[in-house]
């Protein structure tokens, strides 16, 4: 029974990939026709910009990094059925912590990097913990709260970047670039070692969720908080802790963006990863082992559809593709439900 479930999960993920690809290219057809583009050429370019060329692959992997880290963070919260929509804001705090540490602390590079990571964890955890506390103490619904927190966190980040931390160099609002010693080294340009940060987190989060007592308590709380409470699990504490850990990990995505990709602060650096990671987590069925693959796929869609603008496909097609991803996720859940009930339709 357990074994079946695992293969079924992978099968569903594959079906998801197929469906969304199909959906995306289905939507591309009319656009191509109206602009006299060949769908085959578009398809090839899509693959070229994402995986068939080394630069494309590197790009995709770079985009995978923040997605993967955030996705892992979300797995933890979602497992306890705490819907952390505030990842974007937690990433923002990671950015704030990293920029603050690396731009302004007079310390050797490696120390700054370590401190950036530590402070990101702390700020992200604290920010997420607020929502966790509100939920556990007063049952305040976390979805709108964490969402609103995003706006506040992003506003703070924008304010700092355009205000006190504004660079003396001309141009759109941005901070000074990071000193060279505070930057993570490249593995093979443009692929940065921040990618490894994501990879390292996979077994860590896996261990937390599947092996530790905390992970078991997360699971029980998510499935049935009442029974979990009777079983001696401190459900209120679990809810807060889940947001702590989730917020902290998501903030690390911000760290990776600053220390490994952008090397400076600018509005929009958080890139909506906080939202895109939601679909990655859902498709991975909250299983940390699957998140690298689902994150990679989401990144693929993002990079590919973005690259297609060079071929004449309008920019916001990216948004539409993301929308298709989300609908695909819902369809996969639907499919799973239909399979589970033995093919009978619920009335």
């Amino acid at each position: 029974m357990m074994f079946q479930k695992k293969t079924r999960g992978i099968l569903l993920s594959l079906i998801f990939i197929f469906i969304t690809f199909f959906g995306i290219f289905l939507c591309l057809l009319p656009i191509c026709q109206s602009k006299n583009l060949s769908i085959v050429e578009i398809f090839n370019y899509f693959l070229y910009s994402t995986i068939t060329s080394p630069s494309g692959l590197a790009q995709t992997l770079m985009k995978t990094t923040p997605l993967l880290i955030t996705s892992l963070g979300l797995c933890i919260a979602f497992k306890a059925r705490v819907w952390n929509i505030g990842a974007e804001g937690q990433i923002a705090f990671g950015v704030i912590a990293s920029l603050g540490t690396c731009l302004f602390l007079p310390l050797p590079g490696i120390i700054k990097i370590i401190l950036a990571i530590v402070f990101s964890l702390l700020l992200g955890a604290a920010w997420g913990g607020v929502a966790g506390y509100l939920k556990s103490r007063w049952s305040v619904p976390e979805i709108p709260i964490t969402l609103m927190q995003n706006f506040v966190a992003l506003a703070l980040m924008d304010f700092l970047i355009a205000g006190p931390w504004l660079s003396s160099q001309p141009g759109y609002a941005h901070t000074d670039p990071l000193p060279l010693d505070a930057r993570l080294p490249y593995l093979a340009y443009p692929l940065n070692s921040s990618f490894l940060l994501g990879i390292i987190l996979v077994p860590i989060v896996f261990w937390i969720m599947k092996r530790s007592v905390f992970g078991f308590q997360l699971k029980a709380t998510g499935y049935n908080p009442i029974a979990a409470n009777y079983g001696g699990i401190n459900v209120k504490k679990i809810i807060v802790m889940s947001m702590f850990v989730s917020g902290g990990i998501c903030a690390l995505a911000g760290t990776s963006l600053v220390l490994g990709e952008f090397f400076f602060g600018v509005k929009g650096v958080t890139g909506n990863y906080g939202f895109y990671a939601i679909v990655s987590t859902l498709i991975a069925r909250l299983d940390p082992k699957l998140t690298p693959f689902t994150s990679f796929f989401v990144a693929l869609v993002l990079v590919g559809t973005n690259a297609l603008t060079l071929k004449g496909i309008p920019g916001p097609f990216v948004h539409l593709s993301v929308g298709i991803l989300f609908i695909g996720a819902v369809l996969i859940f639907l499919l799973e439900k239909v399979i589970e009930s033995g093919g009978e339709k619920n009335v």
């Binding site: 703070l156 989300f326 619920n346």
Partner: protein
């Protein structure tokens, strides 16, 4: 002369329509977590109608409502018929709606086309303002004074009891979700006309303000008027200040005032709810399954 009052009330229809739409749906027991997507889709269909069907604002509003209904159908199929987790369904519709709207706007409309606003009829307020109040009152009458309203409340509170008396629980829920989403769609259309001129950001936040107001209003229509006025005042004043160039706070913080307001409203609603009976419809979020009979 009416300037300050207009500033306060100009955004009211957005909240009255949006909040009551969500309220109606939730009263029967179904969440509309995708409310932002519904608003976006309602807005985009209204714009499409204005540009391609007829440059008539009233028709646009109607089409916006129909756009909302489309998403309502999606929500109903997934949440009521297939009984999927309403939160996951909500996520899907939310981002799909936004993505679709943003894409259509840029592709077929070449950016954010200016769309005229309703012109003021009375006290510098446009007809939709008065319409939304009328709709709100009608909704209140229906819910508290008719047998339909009784049925809806029963379905949301104890669907099994309603079922035992011959009420088709799922049919009632479909109805509430569709009408509710129509209102939300209209709200989105009006929002676009009067406030947002483009889908710049991923998420506008207005939908969630309405969601928060439903809780704040304890699922009672009359209370939504109060909350709507408060939020409308915040937004209205903030917009006027930005336009006039009054910057008492850095622009970034000014723009998050409404979002902070939502947080405050939600926390206040939940803290005070702990004292006294919970007003939340008991079956909210739980799909109705007829028990096996043996």
């Amino acid at each position: 002369m009416y300037e300050p009052i207009v500033a306060i009330l100009s955004m009211l229809p957005i909240y009255i329509l949006g909040t009551n739409g969500e309220l109606l749906s939730q009263l029967s027991g179904v969440y509309n977590i995708g409310i932002e997507g519904v608003m976006a889709f309602g807005a985009i269909t209204a714009i499409l109608s204005y540009n391609f069907v007829a440059p008539n604002l009233w028709i646009s509003m109607l089409v916006g409502a129909l756009g909302g209904v489309v998403f309502g159908v999606l929500n109903s199929i997934l949440s009521i018929h297939f009984k999927l987790d309403q939160i996951v369904v909500g996520f899907g519709l939310w981002f799909f709606g936004i993505g679709l709207a943003g894409f259509i706007q840029t592709t077929f409309l070449g950016g954010a086309p200016p769309i005229e606003r309703f012109s003021a009829v009375l006290f510098d307020l446009d007809p939709i303002f008065y319409l939304s109040i009328v709709i709100g009152i009608i909704l209140w009458i229906i819910i508290s004074k008719t047998s339909l309203g009784l049925t809806i409340k029963a379905v949301g509170e104890n669907p099994r009891a309603a079922d035992s008396l011959g009420i088709n629980v799922n049919k009632v829920r479909w109805f509430c979700v569709l009408i509710g989403c129509a209102l939300i769609g209209m709200s989105g259309a009006y929002l676009y006309m009067n406030y947002l001129q483009g889908f710049r950001t991923m998420v506008s936040g207005f939908g969630w303000m309405c969601f928060a107001l439903v809780m704040f209003a304890r699922w009672r229509v009359l209370n939504t008027f109060v909350g709507a006025t408060v939020f409308s005042a915040i937004i209205g004043i903030q917009t006027r200040m930005q336009v006039a160039g009054i910057m008492i706070l850095p622009v970034e913080f000014l723009s998050v005032l409404p979002h902070i307001a939502v947080i405050i409203v939600l926390v206040a609603a939940c803290v005070t709810a702990k004292f006294g009976k919970s007003a939340m419809p008991s079956s909210l979020g739980t799909p109705y399954i007829k028990e096996a009979v043996y």
